[in-house]
Symmetry: C2
């Protein structure tokens, strides 16, 4: 299959650090923090850290992900010159929530996946009960991280972050989206249903990522709304790219089973409207992102690179 | 089997409202709040509330429990004359965490229970995937409730409550305890191991309940430590009474399977030291509670009634 080189792809030829290099650099920082946060040493008020559960949490979270959501938190915060350590903690908390959702989604009762990024999933490497508890504990830990003094955040901002993260991940966000996704296996949703499902299942957490940068920087509600809308565009682009990849990539590239959605007869916007439409929609989302972040000029370049990267991703 | 009437049991003969009546009255208030919190109406920033997931969460949390932990939060807060609505919200949040743990513990991969308080467990009434998500969402919602403006708490106190609740429930608390409990099925722990397991699995959340009352009232660290130690005593008493009941009660009284611990060969302090020792330990814990709360005089009477009730409970 052939598709034309789109304008933003030429950015790859620059000698500045590529978005992939920037992602990798920040992924390492987030992983170093997660590694420290999941060390054997217990935090005040913890009674003990049972070794098997800690190991399963580490397996679920220190597994070489791209760390896109943490990157979005950190770069959104940097847009407003917020302090780096605070952003790093919020990024780590968000990644704990994202990884908990992967651990639970992979369970036999859910998507029943044996592989995740080329490695055995947590319930395969350990067992089902341990995977359930590891997911639960990663989710719980996210809120601890947000409220730990080390993050150096003001209480009013911590409260806002906890509330926003909880609403993005729970009944009215990601978990609700996974519920709709499970129901979609029985009754195929129409386009409105697919959009709702995707906005909840993947969109809510990505939107939180960019909005969190604004929240932790304590900016005006106008800036916050702008970052929120930018996050919505990234979420939509991420999902479209994912649906395209599910159709076209093979398991070796993705490090997980592919073509599963199609095999289950699950509708996606790509299956409804086709690949050409999807690639046009991706261009439009990138253009909208550029408009949204135009007021920040040069400072927004990395975030826009990220938007292009998401729209164009190959795995 | 015969055991003597212990001094505190004569309190039952008073004409004042019994502890059972007080528990019931407050359980109703907490349930009314949980019912409102789990209405179809979404909160700001929630995208939608998928009906099946909401119903499963309600099944898991509105199931006629005794609401002991909420009661301890509310009465501990009342000891310091903290505002009632704030305490009620913290109580509801804690109950969400407690009930999430029951939903997940009941799963086939964990304790595999079909009944809970005489009703089908969530995975029986719905299915496994829905039960996993309902537990996840109840846990997530707890942190939302703590940080919602309706609770009327100061941000610094909300942050402290989130952190304390997360540490009581996660890797270093309840979830860690459940991990140890699962491991205890393979390798029987010694007395130190049993005490650690119980302190984490049931103790941490009960200790949080009484400490939360002190935190939300914004009291001195001395008062907070006193309530924390009182909570530890209640937690120990609760577990001893539970172990006694597991040996002696039948399924009809408990509304769930009993004798399971013994059947699985799981050691408890009661199986190690016997019933007589256990009843003496319970008396001692009640006496220690009285000493801890003595500085509060008459105001602590309801909390002490609760301690006696826990030590003496029949189901």
């Amino acid at each position: 299959m052939h598709h034309p080189v789109l304008p933003w792809q030429t950015a790859r030829m620059s000698t500045l650090p590529s978005i992939e290099q920037k992602l990798q650099r920040q992924a390492r920082e987030v992983e170093q923090l997660l590694d420290r946060l999941l060390s054997p040493e217990r935090r005040p008020d913890e009674i003990a850290r049972p070794e098997r559960l800690r190991a399963a949490m580490r397996h679920g979270v220190l597994n070489g992900g791209k760390r896109l959501r943490p990157f979005l938190v950190i770069e959104s915060a940097a847009l407003f010159s917020a302090p780096g350590p605070a952003a790093l903690h919020v990024a780590a908390a968000l990644e704990c929530v994202h990884c908990y959702s992967l651990v639970h989604d992979d369970l036999p009762a859910m998507d029943d996946d044996d592989l995740r990024r080329g490695q055995p999933t947590v319930h395969k490497a350990f067992d089902e009960a341990t995977a359930i508890l590891a997911g639960d504990s990663l989710l719980t830990y996210a809120f601890d991280i947000l409220c730990a003094p080390e993050a150096g955040l003001a209480p009013a901002i911590q409260v806002e972050l906890v509330r926003a993260l909880a609403r993005a991940s729970g009944l009215g966000g990601m978990a609700g989206g996974q519920m709709l996704d499970l129901e979609a296996e029985r009754v195929s949703p129409d386009e409105t249903g697919i959009r709702l499902l995707q906005a909840m299942k993947t969109g809510a957490l990505i939107r939180f990522a960019t909005e969190a940068g604004a929240i932790l920087a304590g900016v005006s509600s106008e800036d916050r709304e702008r970052l929120r809308q930018f996050g919505e565009r990234i979420g939509l682009a991420f999902q479209l790219a994912d649906d395209l990849l599910d159709l076209t990539a093979d398991a070796a590239t993705m490090g997980k089973a592919t073509g599963k959605d199609a095999a289950r007869g699950k509708g996606t916007l790509v299956s409804l409207h086709g690949e050409v439409w999807a690639r046009e929609a991706l261009s439009r989302l990138v253009a909208e992102s550029e408009t949204l972040l135009a007021p920040y000029g040069e400072k927004a370049e990395t975030l826009l690179q990220a938007a292009r990267f998401v729209a164009d991703r190959k795995n």
